[in-house]
């Protein structure tokens, strides 16, 4: 499983949005993932195939349906490669601060 495939898969905003949707609700069918997109089913299928190739999405059968799950393990491996062992808690504090400040400004 190459890191190149992960970066290529993440380089597209549509694919990142598909991951966002699975992050919000894991285990969706193709039909559910197509809702609200101005894209054909075939286009979404193609994006999902690229995400699956990169191991960012994995599928499980439920009866005749295929459910899609976000697999965060490759992203975790990327983070581990460049984040040192002492930096993590400071980075988390910074990320929390950014999130809080940006949420406030959205009100």
């Amino acid at each position: 499983m190459s890191m190149d495939a992960v970066f290529r898969a993440l380089a597209d905003p549509v694919r990142r949005r598909l991951l966002d949707r699975l992050h919000a609700r894991n285990g969706q069918t193709l039909g559910e993932l197509c809702e609200g997109h101005d894209m054909t089913r075939q286009a979404v299928t193609k994006h999902l195939a690229l995400l699956e190739e990169a191991n960012l999405v994995v599928t499980r059968k439920r009866g005749r349906e295929k459910l899609h799950y976000l697999n965060p393990v490759p992203i975790h491996e990327i983070a581990d490669r460049w984040i040192g062992k002492y930096e993590r808690s400071r980075l988390r504090a910074l990320a929390d601060l950014k999130k809080r400040l940006e949420e406030q400004s959205d009100d």
Binding site: M1, G27, N55, V58, Y69, V73, P74
Partner: protein
């Protein structure tokens, strides 16, 4: 409704070595925050995941075992009452050879929606799996997972 996550990683090793790394205390202590499993690994046997200090973190039963391919555990939290009361979950661990690597899939599910238990375990697995991969591929676990959480 079922709450479920599926985590997959590819590790450059053999199914036999990965199987040992998943089951044997001397390995799990290195990458699983010092935890180890108390089990004789037979179908129907009781299973426990132990904190390094000897308290049980989780408990359950071996539902299926097929070395070095598939392990299914009945799994319940033992130390947080709010998680414990959700009852038993099911954890399926699958190993499949894939070219020079082994594909490791972990599926953890519970027959309810909005499960706090599934949310809690899903956060831990990516760290544990990354560290396990590092241990098998480089001989070293990742820092932070080689010692008790604290």
């Amino acid at each position: 409704m079922t709450d479920r996550f599926v985590y997959v990683t590819y590790i450059r090793t053999t199914p036999e070595k990965l199987w040992d790394a998943l089951l044997k205390p001397e390995f799990t202590r290195a990458y699983w925050y010092g935890a180890w499993q108390d089990c004789d690994w037979k179908k129907g046997s009781p299973w426990k995941l132990m904190f390094p200090d000897g308290r049980p973190a989780d408990s359950g039963e071996v539902v299926e075992i097929e070395k070095p391919k598939r392990l299914v555990l009945k799994w319940r939290n033992e130390w947080r009452p709010d998680l414990r009361e959700e009852g038993y979950s099911r954890c399926v661990i699958e190993l499949e050879p894939a070219d020079e690597t082994v594909k490791l899939s972990i599926t953890h599910e519970i027959d309810k929606s909005g499960s706090k238990f599934i949310e809690a375990v899903s956060g831990g697995w990516p760290k544990i799996l990354s560290s396990l991969k590092s241990l098998l591929e480089t001989g070293k676990p990742l820092p932070r997972t080689d010692q008790p959480k604290g």
